[in-house]
Symmetry: C2
Subunit: 423 residues, 2 copies
């Protein structure tokens, strides 16, 4: 019966059987101290003589558990019997048991099959798993249905330039930029409240620390809202739950990154700032008048929110119509739409959508669109669609900002950028 | 404060505010009986005079709740005040309030934005949402980490013919057929236990009731197994949990489809039949010697299991090496691999994988492969990979078989086949 590394301390004075990876070997006066790594953590083994296996080999060990103040966790296991389950080649392409901060990001990503063994890097994805689970859990608890919609779309309504093309038998299709139309269709079907966790694709050429060409979009859409404040309230609820779950499940991971999550009380304090007001704040913060909110502006606004509201985040709403997609619900020259900036980065875009057929018909020509060009999407509105709206959270960006990673690619297991399609 | 249709009965004698879709209108002697539909169900409204809105319009209603034995659910709401939230065009492309069995599948899928409003069809995806949630819940409870891996792959190792090609900037990439390599990478990283819920793509030309070109794959991979029986045990545990959750959360949906889920005790009785033995059973059942297990054979074997073991399902294992991918763990001329057949259809393929580098190097030439051609995948085995295995459940197939749908496309919100890329 296998014992996990994290549970060894419960067997003090008894015998355990361990399985895991050889993380570290230190030889000292005829004795080898081996650190064994498994999914739960690490534990020290004591071997008489030399350790005749390479780092990263997978072994099975049986032996007594003894107290040792100097060992990590205060216990060690005497390796009476060792079985080699899988030998590792002696020279690793990159070190697994050293601080990954000393290795450049390209080397880590080029050797992803190995770098992901580095506990600190692997912990990013333990946190990410918690985020995904908490997101779904919160929404299920509020009557939302999880949907899975096609990523192969027959027409590229939301702007053809940012789309990847797929050879699909005798025709061409596109990889979806978002499940926008589909989640609206499900809301208008009577499902009312839906969420989707799925890939989104952007064929954008820029290679920055904030962009991925393939990312996980946490999408939400809800019927019978009054205005975009209902959506921001929903997102606050999601974030509070996600942060609480991460704090509880990933305390050691947060510590490894020197990171923390905002409290529920802080999330309640996230200010809602109208676009025009946000520009004024940014202008004042930066000492220079701005005419749009660029990445530097996002950072300045979050600095302001930290100083003024005690939380490094801000909702920006009331975006001008020309800055938002055709389906954004108009409010004069503005729209009922919002972004959420968190720790200097936009992690959400959302808003109320046009739901009335007549209003949609009026909006389309302003964006150079026709009802025919939108195909079946128009059926949603033609046959009775309730007031609704939604938003999408970028999973990798949220992960990045929770942990304080310098590049969003660090929060993607196998990131895709303009040059990187392997491994 | 809105009341859901399913909760109206709790407000007998009081007033309620309802929001939803006009599902049915019946006029009788100066009174209109309107069935209002929302995400929770349906409730009857009583309107003095004519209902001046079309079917599928979205309305808000206020009025008193009265007992009425003849109304569905035993209550009705007097519509004192009605507000039209969104008008529907008068002629629906397909009827929403009639039995969908009378409409052919192509018409339902061509008009998916509307057909998904049909409560019985929408219920398929309520069940599917429960399946997805229960799958994740069970695995999280057993120490599994949820991962999200790229669907854009730089090389097509698992057989180039079945792959869709994507124009990716100045190069070509493929849509992933499965997350196989990535989930193995994560297992070998020390994460040990992973699952992924994601899209899988097969560029196969056949158009059958059992195939989709894009489907949701419920993938599992686990380290430190003894043999493929550990994997079958894990799948039994998943299925028991999924079936229990569906029975609890979707009782009305199951009833609408005249369907039921197996009990935990039945799942425990699913037989494990070796491939050679399965062929003998199928030959005896069909009265004709078979040399492979085709779809008809899958049905016959499930019939046999139903009669003999009281559950219409069977694990088939010990497949010959030539029938399985190169990474299947060999056992003489056989492999430690399995399929799960459920109600006449293969819903799972899985097995133990080769984990030792030397064994992998020996296997590759048998399949015409080279270590160089496999690229970074070989690093998994070169640097210490534990014994492991896993499987994938086709979400749409499982949904189909739980509900008794005649075509797997009915279990996909926006199915993709050779001809269908819209809506």
């Amino acid at each position: 019966m296998r014992t996990l590394a994290s549970e060894v301390k419960n067997s003090l004075g008894g015998e355990v059987e361990l399985k895991g990876w050889v993380h570290r070997i230190r030889e000292l006066g005829g004795i080898s101290f081996v650190v064994l790594r498994d999914r739960s953590g690490q534990v020290q083994l004591v071997i008489q003589g030399k350790a005749d296996f390479a780092l990263e080999s997978v072994i099975e060990v049986k032996g007594p558990v003894r107290a040792n103040e100097k060992a990590p966790g205060g216990v060690e296991v005497g390796a009476d019997a060792i079985k080699l389950l899988a030998a590792a080649a002696p020279e690793l392409p990159i070190p697994v048991n050293q601080d990954p901060d000393k290795i450049n990001l390209d080397a880590l990503l080029d050797n992803r099959m190995i770098s992901i063994r580095i506990p600190k890097l692997r912990s990013v994805f333990s946190v990410q798993s918690t985020i995904v689970g908490a997101f779904a859990e919160h929404l299920r608890g509020r009557g939302f249905t999880e949907i899975k919609t096609s990523k192969l779309i027959g027409s590229g309504t939301e702007g053809g330039t940012g789309l990847f093309t797929v050879d699909y038998f005798d025709t061409k299709v596109f990889l979806a930029q978002s499940p926008q139309f589909y989640k609206q269709a499900m809301v208008s079907s009577g499902m009312e409240r839906v969420f989707e966790i799925g890939m989104a694709y952007r064929a954008e050429k820029h290679d920055t620390p904030r962009h991925l060409n393939e990312y996980v979009s946490l999408d939400v859409e809800m019927a019978f809202i009054e205005d975009d404040r209902d959506l921001m309230d929903l997102e606050r609820g999601i974030l509070k739950h996600v942060f609480a779950r991460v704090a509880a499940a990933n305390a050691a991971d947060l510590e490894a990154w020197g990171a923390g999550v905002p409290s529920a009380e802080q999330v309640d304090r996230i200010p809602v700032v109208a676009y025009d007001e946000a520009k004024e704040i940014i202008s004042a913060q930066g000492g220079r008048k701005v005419f749009d909110i660029n990445p530097e502006g996002e950072r300045l606004l979050c600095d302001w929110a930290r100083d003024k509201h005690g939380i490094e985040a801000a909702f920006v709403n009331a975006f001008p119509r020309k800055h938002r997609p055709f389906y954004a619900f108009p409010d004069g020259q503005k729209t009922q739409s919002f972004d959420l900036l968190f720790r200097g980065l936009e992690i959400t875009t959302g808003g109320r959508r046009i739901n009335e057929h007549a209003m949609m018909l009026e909006a389309l020509p302003k964006f150079g669109l026709t009802p025919e060009g939108l195909g079946a999407y128009m059926d949603i509105f033609k046959y009775g669609c309730p007031p609704h709206g939604g938003f999408a959270i970028g999973l990798e960006r949220l992960t990045q900002k929770i942990l304080g990673l310098s590049n969003v690619k660090e929060a993607s297991l196998f990131p895709r950028d303009r040059k990187r399609v392997k491994p």
